[in-house]
Symmetry: C2
Subunit: 160 residues, 2 copies
């Protein structure tokens, strides 16, 4: 089944996330990624939902049926900017530090924290670029990792 | 009521997010922010949950009671690295572009996309820093905004 990316505008009310997640669960749609944050207007949030489904129109229709859901856009086939952020703590004995600092340049990560035995790296990019970073630093030993899930915004001049 | 930040490790199974969000809803705990992404092990996700509650121990206990919840850490009073990402599209006629490019330096944002009438800015920072950016660019006219919600990781040498 194809992954579809939906951008969903919702009223920032208790229960709205519950309604969306419950509907997906009930209908058997699998959520591959869900990210939610404030939108441009106060009281409104915007979600990026990546869902595995053969019938995305049905998913969108079900979403529209939920209280406090204002707008649903299927951006799967649009030109978009897609970003994810990761914080990852790697094992970093003195002997690995120079190498990790050097890799910071090619992978474009920042060093967010450092202690006696580890370094915390911070990186923003496409989900694919973040996967590459993780593959690149895995040999050092990943202690802890946290990703935000992706946010997706359609590029300008839509339809022009 | 105080905002508490919980970092929660869960098995990446259908229904786990539903269980968490439903439990919060049922108990009347308000979720101020929820961010979920892959953790260091395959099949495991890590959530950052910001919840308004007078009794965070009760919240943690309830979370531990849910299927597929592996670990709950209250990091509210810990030394942490806290990050959020935003994509924001602003109105950018020719007359504003130089100013927006100039502000990119002081606010440390990148320009992710540009078209005839708008620019899409990309920024990573603490939630407070992102609020400042948004205040700073609001006069230009915000067309569209999407935030990831925060991810939080405890700094190194805990307890040492």
């Amino acid at each position: 089944m194809k992954d579809h990316t939906l951008v969903v505008l919702v009223r920032d009310r208790p229960g709205v996330l519950n309604r969306i997640v419950s509907m997906f669960r009930r209908r058997g749609y699998n959520i591959a990624s869900l990210t939610v944050g404030h939108a441009e207007q106060a009281g409104i949030s915007r979600l990026t939902l990546v869902v595995e489904s053969a019938d995305v129109e049905q998913v969108a229709k079900q979403l529209y049926g939920l209280v406090d859901v204002l707008k649903v856009d299927d951006v799967t086939d649009s030109a978009v900017v897609e970003r994810e952020m990761v914080l990852v703590r790697v094992t970093a004995p003195q002997s690995s530090r120079a190498k990790l600092m050097e890799l910071a340049e090619s992978f474009a990560y920042r060093i967010a924290d450092i202690d006696h035995e580890t370094m915390m790296l911070e990186m923003t990019g496409t989900p694919g670029k973040i996967d590459s970073l993780i593959d690149g630093i895995r040999p050092f030993g990943i202690v802890e990792m946290m990703r935000t899930g992706r946010i997706t915004m359609v590029r300008g001049d839509r339809g022009n």
